[in-house]
């Protein structure tokens, strides 16, 4: 028995070390700075038109939670592209953004059903690693889609998080050449997207020389926490000219704080994601702008990448998806439900 135990342990160790050796071929991924990358608009030009998927191809998607509009929209993108190419898609999500083990269970259960490719949007950088290893061992391509990044993943589809904050910083530099005080409402501490968005904003605006980032505080993606933080910051710095929030939910909380402080004319507020509430708030003039990362289109691009991989194409490790700064001036250009028109607009940029 003891012999057997030892042998089993040794076998386990061997299989793991083989798995790790394979994983070590890839450097830990930083999706923003990975050199092996391509922009989504170049896929057709570089790799030819989308190959027809084999009959009976099916793709599984696992995302964070359907209580967030972003992930629902991403699933719509998966489905619309899959439907257009006659591919079956199964899209599942965990109960909440905190449910790490539940998401792992879902991913593992899906793997056992024999998909041709899998699309993972993990809760954290680590919680889907066992599922990734299992799928890789079974030869099923896995695409990590926004926004937590599994360091060992071979394929990533998503927007450049850092560019997100840089676009907002650029707006301030263009609109307020005289400079001024700004503040950042950050997402959950330690989350890659939050860190990169904040860094992109702060680095860009400080480089302009005449701006001050007077506060940069986490509000954990919560509208209520963001409201409180913004109210406090406004009391301390009544001459603040703008806020940048790492997502739209928080930005809408900030908008309320700015309004109740009577600073709506003086203080600009920017969010991130482009959810429908944010579009409505931009139209109403409450929210100055949001950086839309086009979740439906991102879903379509991710599905295209998965199907190209399933068809045997060798793609770069990162495929960057589009984003744009939406303000009152350009909102009608982007607020279209016609995806092909949106694609054309973004391609032209």
């Amino acid at each position: 028995m003891q012999h057997f135990l030892k042998a089993a342990l040794a076998a386990g160790a061997l299989s793991v070390s083989i798995g790790m050796a394979h994983a070590q071929d890839l450097a830990p991924l930083n999706s923003d700075s990975e050199p092996d990358r391509i922009d989504w608009s170049q896929l057709d030009a570089t790799f030819g038109p989308m190959p027809a998927p084999a009959d009976g191809t099916k793709v599984g998607g696992v995302s964070k939670t359907l209580t967030n509009e972003y992930w629902r929209s991403l699933g719509e993108g998966y489905k619309s592209f899959a439907d257009a190419h006659g591919v079956d898609v199964v899209y599942q999500a965990a109960q909440s953004e905190g449910d790490q083990l539940g998401q792992l269970s879902i991913a593992e259960t899906l793997i056992s059903q024999g998909f041709n490719a899998l699309l993972f949007s993990p809760q954290t950088d680590a919680n889907l690693i066992p599922a990734l290893e299992k799928a890789t061992a079974a030869g099923v391509p896995v695409v990590n889609v926004n926004d937590a990044v599994i360091p060992t993943v071979a394929h990533y589809v998503g927007n450049v998080q850092k560019d997100n904050g840089m676009r907002v910083a650029q707006w301030f530099i263009d609109t307020h050449p005289e400079g001024g005080k700004v503040a950042v409402i950050e997402g959950q501490a330690g989350v890659f997207a939050a860190g990169q968005r904040t860094a992109g904003f702060t680095e860009t605006i400080l480089a302009a020389g005449n701006f001050d980032v007077v506060a940069s505080v986490p509000a954990d993606w919560s509208r209520e926490l963001a409201f409180n933080a913004a109210a406090t910051i406004l009391q301390q710095h009544p001459d603040l000219i703008g806020f940048y929030a790492n997502n739209d939910g928080m930005a809408l909380g900030v908008v309320e704080a700015v309004k109740s402080a009577g600073k709506a004319d003086q203080t600009a507020v920017f969010g991130t994601d482009g959810i429908s509430d944010a579009y409505a708030a931009v139209r109403a003039g409450d929210l100055t702008g949001t950086v839309d990362s086009f979740p439906v289109l991102t879903g379509e691009v991710a599905m295209e990448v998965a199907l190209r991989l399933a068809a045997g194409q060798d793609l770069p490790r990162v495929v960057a998806t589009p984003q744009a700064l939406i303000t009152k001036d350009n909102i009608e250009t982007y607020a279209t439900s016609d995806l092909s028109a949106l694609r054309a607009t973004l391609m032209a940029e």
Binding site: G12, L66, A126, A189
Partner: protein
């Protein structure tokens, strides 16, 4: 005690309840195997056991605490704290067995802290462990700065990812722990003390049961098992995250309750809790196979917990 309780010997009453839980599991399995061909296959059943093993490890400790008349809401953050400390030790080059012991000692120490405030301080378990829930999570976040610790040694991961007789390492480890917990509860004085303290603390004190030590040991066991669960998880993930263990306490309480533990104390079963964990695991697995969205999985879990409570009520004749 009610008439139904006294008319049946305690042990056979518990076995009767366990049989009821098992019937529930079998019913669920039959329904799913009709609806999905891949449910009743060996790889999928092993999958369910593996997915249930972490919750089972937590629920074992939770059951002992609940039997003693308490509750431990801090298991998830205790797991996170011991996992991050253990992982940091391993990455720093501390030998794996030593780091594992260090992690378990951290969990036991957290349990001691909870237990000391409850047993000696006379504070309410719900409030103390609610405080612990924030406290230990904060320590884990502060210690790591919010970022995961990657790069755990392969020899450590091999234990969690290995298999023996076709069963994954975590399932075997939790099986052994469950056997130990069952022995403690049914064959040792500590088990009798736990039942007595949870059933009627005053009577237990008069009868000479060491009430303080009994409560203390329940929370220490719970803390230790939480850290073992976290070690299993980080072995599988290859990384330790300070956010790990979110909402573990609720799954563990649910499993204990489905298995027949009473939050009033004095009643609970290791076998029942294990079956409760597998019921929750099978439910999640089966509904995923049927491509049912997570919201309905939550609904099903809620219904099962309430049905289990209603059956409890009916059979205990109260």
């Amino acid at each position: 005690m009610s008439k139904a309780l006294t008319s049946l010997p305690l042990i056979s009453r518990i076995r009767f309840r366990d049989a009821g839980t098992l019937v529930g599991l079998i019913l669920i399995a039959i329904v799913f195997s009709f609806l999905s061909p891949s449910f009743l296959t060996l790889p999928n059943l092993v999958n369910i056991l593996q997915q249930s093993s972490i919750n089972a490890c937590i629920a074992l400790g939770m059951t002992l605490v609940i039997i003693s008349g308490g509750i431990d809401l801090s298991v998830g953050p205790v797991a996170a704290l011991s996992a991050t400390l253990g992982a940091a030790m391993m990455v720093a080059g501390v030998p794996v067995p030593l780091a594992v012991l260090g992690a378990i000692a951290t969990g036991v120490a957290c349990g001691f802290f909870n237990g000391a405030l409850i047993a000696w301080g006379g504070l309410q378990p719900f409030i103390v462990t609610l405080g612990g829930l924030s406290l230990y999570r904060a320590l884990a976040l502060i210690y790591t700065g919010g970022t995961p610790i990657f790069g755990l040694p392969g020899e450590f991961r091999a234990i969690a990812n290995g298999t023996l007789l076709g069963l994954p390492g975590p399932v075997i480890a939790v099986g052994v722990l469950a056997f130990v917990a069952w022995v403690i509860l049914t064959k040792t004085p500590l088990g009798e003390y736990l039942m007595a303290v949870g059933g009627n603390p005053e009577a237990a004190r008069v009868a000479g049961v060491p009430v303080t030590l009994t409560k203390l040991s329940a929370y220490m066991i719970s803390g230790g098992l939480a850290s073992i669960a976290s070690l299993i998880l980080i072995g599988r993930l290859g990384a330790a995250e300070p956010t790990l263990g979110n909402l573990w306490e609720l799954d563990a309480i649910a499993a204990s309750a489905i298995g027949g533990a009473s939050l009033m104390g004095g009643r609970g079963s290791i076998v029942g809790t294990l079956i409760g964990c597998v019921i929750l695991g099978a439910l999640r697995n089966g509904l995923t196979l049927l491509n049912v969205q997570a919201f309905y999985q939550l609904l099903a879990t809620g219904i099962i917990i309430i049905v289990a409570m209603l059956i409890d009520r009916a059979t205990s004749g109260k």
